[in-house]
C-alpha cells in the first residue's frame, strides 16, 4: 500500500511544500523540496515526527501557582498529549531552580522534564 503525504517544511523561511510517498512504513520518494535539509526533515516528519513539550506543573508554596517546564530533548509527537496529561498530575514545592528535574524519564521515554525558570518560595 502506497500513501502520499504533503509536508510543509519548517526548516527555513522559504516554507516549501513537498510530497512524500510511503510504503510499508518506509519512505519511497521525496519530491518538490527546495533543498536536502528539507528532504531530510520530511523523511523524519512522516516516519517518526518529534516535538519539544512545554507546559506547566502546579507548585505548592511558591511565588506563583504554576511552574513552566520543558522536555530536555524531543519526544515522539504521538506521546505529547499523554506526557502533558501526566504532568497535569504533578505538583512540586518551591523553591525551584531553572534546570531542576521535575520528572525524570517521563512515561519511560528516556526524556527528563525540567524547570524553565527559577521560582522562589513565598
Amino acid at each position: 500500500m502506497e500513501e502520499e503525504r504533503r509536508v510543509s517544511c519548517i526548516v527555513c523561511p522559504l516554507s516549501c511544500v513537498g510530497d512524500v510517498t510511503i510504503a510499508d512504513g518506509k519512505v519511497k520518494t521525496v519530491a518538490e523540496f527546495g533543498c536536502p535539509r528539507g528532504e531530510a526533515y520530511a523523511r523524519e516528519e512522516v516516519i517518526a515526527p518529534k516535538r519539544m513539550l512545554t507546559t506547566t506543573v502546579r507548585v505548592s508554596g511558591g511565588q506563583l501557582p504554576l511552574l513552566p517546564v520543558i522536555s530536555r530533548q524531543l519526544l515522539p509527537k504521538d506521546k505529547i498529549i499523554s506526557c502533558a496529561r501526566c504532568l497535569a498530575n504533578v505538583t512540586v514545592s518551591a523553591p525551584i531552580k531553572e534546570g531542576d528535574v521535575i520528572l525524570s524519564d517521563i512515561l519511560k521515554l528516556g526524556v527528563d522534564i525540567v524547570a524553565s525558570r527559577d521560582l522562589d518560595a513565598i
Partner: protein, 421 residues
C-alpha cells in the same frame, strides 16, 4: 513625596528594558534604575512558556522565562542597577522628572539625566476591531488568556474559537489543546497566516485544528456567557460574502488581532510618532526627537524575535549612558528613512550622519504583504545604495539589513526603502 536621582531611568522591565539596563551600566552610567509595574522582571516573556527564544543571541532555543532569567541574572550581577517592582510610572516631564507610584512609598519623584522607554505593547481588543453582537463574558485577548493559563492556573473556557492567526493565536491554540480544551477553529481575515509555518504545522495541524483563511466573525452570541459565533468568508476587499455564514458553538473567544505599542507616556511629552509603527520616531541610537529620551523594543515597533528586542535595548542603553555623561556631542545632520512601494515600516526612521561614525546602521523593515522573488532596494537621490534579493518576504517576519558606513556618506537628504518586482 519620596525623591530620588539617577543617571539613566528605564521604564519597563521586559527584555528591552533589561538589555538597556545592562548596557547603560556597562557603558559608564553610574546609577541606573529599572521601573516595572509587575511583581517581577521579564515582561511578556514570563508568560511565553514555549521554546524558540534566543537562537541568535544564546545559540540555543530557550523558553520565554529561560531567556528572561539570563538577563535578570545579568542585571542582578551589576550593583549599580536598582530595580523597583510593583511600581507604575504615571507621568514623565520634559525636564526628565518621573512620577511613579507603588504601595510601599506612595508617590515617588525621580529625576533622571536620560530616560529610556521600554513599555512594550498592548493587545488590540474587541473595541479596536468592532465585532457586533452582545457583550457576554468569555471574550479575551489571546495574551490575557496566555497569562491566565500559564501563570495564574485557570482556563478561560472549554470550547474555544480563536480570531487571528498570528503567532500568539497559534501558540495559544496548542496551549489550550494541551490543557484539554477543544479548539474549534482559528479564523483569519487575510488570505494567509501571519504566523510562522512552524507554528501553523506544530500548533494547528498537530492538533487537527482547522484554519479558516479569508474568514471573519460577524457576531458574538450569548447572554451572560458566550455561546457561539457567526462566521463568514470575506472577499478580496474583506467584506463578508452573503450566503457563506456558519455558526460555531463555543464558550470562549480569543482575540489575537494585533499589538499596539504602549506610548501614552511618550505621546503626552509630545514626542513625534510614526503613524505606521505607532511608536516614536527614533534615530539609529534609538534616541527620540526629544534629546535624552530613548526608546527600544516593542514600544518602538512590534518585534517577532526577542533577540532583536535585546539588541535595540543595548543600543538605547549605551547612548543613554553617553547622554547622561555628556558624551553625545554634535548630533549631526538628519537623514529621514522612508518606507514605500510594498515596504510598510522601516526603523530607525532617521539616521544621524555624525562625522566619525564608524558603525553600520541596521535597518529593520516589514513588507505590506507576502511576496516571492523580490528585491529590497535602499535608494537615495535616485541612486541605489544597496540591494538585497529576497526569495520570500512575509509581513510577519522582520527584514534586517545593515547599511555600511561608506554608504551612509553617499546619502543625500533622505533614503527610501522599496520593493522591486
Amino acid at each position: 513625596m519620596h525623591e530620588e536621582i539617577f543617571d539613566v531611568v528605564i521604564i519597563g522591565g521586559g527584555p528591552a528594558g533589561l538589555a538597556a539596563a545592562v548596557s547603560a551600566s556597562d557603558n559608564g552610567a553610574a546609577r541606573v534604575l529599572v521601573i516595572e509595574r509587575d511583581r517581577e522582571l521579564g515582561g511578556i516573556l514570563q508568560q511565553c512558556i514555549h521554546n524558540g527564544f534566543g537562537l541568535h543571541r544564546f545559540k540555543e532555543e530557550l523558553t520565554g522565562p529561560g531567556y528572561a532569567l539570563r538577563y535578570i541574572k545579568m542585571v542582578e550581577a551589576r550593583s549599580n542597577i536598582t530595580v523597583m517592582l510593583d511600581t507604575m510610572v504615571l507621568a514623565v516631564a520634559a525636564d526628565k522628572t518621573i512620577v511613579a507610584v507603588n504601595s510601599r512609598d506612595g508617590m515617588i519623584k525621580i529625576t533622571a539625566k536620560a530616560v529610556i522607554f521600554t513599555m512594550g505593547c498592548r493587545e488590540r481588543t474587541r473595541g479596536a476591531i468592532r465585532i457586533p453582537g452582545s457583550r457576554p463574558a468569555g471574550v479575551f485577548t489571546a495574551g490575557a488568556a496566555q497569562r491566565m493559563v500559564n501563570m495564574e492556573g485557570y482556563l478561560p473556557g472549554k470550547k474555544v474559537v480563536i480570531l487571528g492567526s498570528g503567532d500568539i493565536g497559534l501558540i495559544m491554540a496548542r496551549r489550550m489543546s494541551l490543557e484539554g480544551t477543544r479548539v474549534e477553529a482559528v479564523l483569519e481575515i487575510m488570505a494567509y497566516s501571519n504566523g510562522l509555518t512552524r507554528n501553523v504545522v506544530q500548533c494547528l495541524e498537530d492538533y487537527n485544528i482547522p484554519l479558516y483563511l479569508s474568514h471573519t466573525i460577524l457576531a458574538v452570541h450569548g447572554n451572560g456567557r458566550v455561546t457561539g459565533v457567526t462566521c463568514a468568508k470575506v472577499d478580496a476587499a474583506m467584506r463578508p460574502i452573503a450566503g457563506t455564514e456558519f455558526y460555531l458553538e463555543c464558550d470562549c473567544l480569543l482575540l489575537s488581532v494585533g499589538l499596539i505599542p504602549e506610548n501614552e507616556l511618550s505621546r503626552e511629552l509630545g514626542i513625534e510618532m510614526d503613524g505606521r509603527t505607532s511608536g516614536p520616531v527614533v534615530d539609529q541610537l534609538r534616541q527620540t526627537g526629544l534629546p535624552g529620551f530613548f526608546a527600544a523594543g516593542n514600544v518602538v515597533h512590534v518585534h517577532d524575535l526577542v533577540d532583536f528586542v535585546s539588541e535595540e535595548g543595548e543600543i538605547a542603553g549605551k547612548y543613554a549612558a553617553w547622554h547622561a555623561n555628556g558624551k553625545m556631542g554634535d548630533c549631526g545632520c538628519l537623514i529621514t528613512v522612508k518606507a514605500a512601494n510594498g515596504v510598510r515600516t522601516a526603523v530607525p526612521q532617521v539616521i544621524r550622519a555624525v562625522s566619525g561614525n564608524t558603525e553600520p546602521v541596521r535597518l529593520y523593515m516589514r513588507v505590506e504583504k507576502p511576496e516571492k522573488n523580490v528585491t529590497l532596494a535602499i535608494l537615495s537621490d535616485g541612486q541605489v545604495l544597496l540591494e538585497r534579493k529576497l526569495r520570500v518576504a512575509k509581513p510577519g517576519e522582520m527584514i534586517v539589513v545593515d547599511l555600511p558606513v561608506e554608504n551612509i556618506k553617499k546619502i543625500g537628504d533622505d533614503i527610501t526603502v522599496v520593493l522591486k518586482h
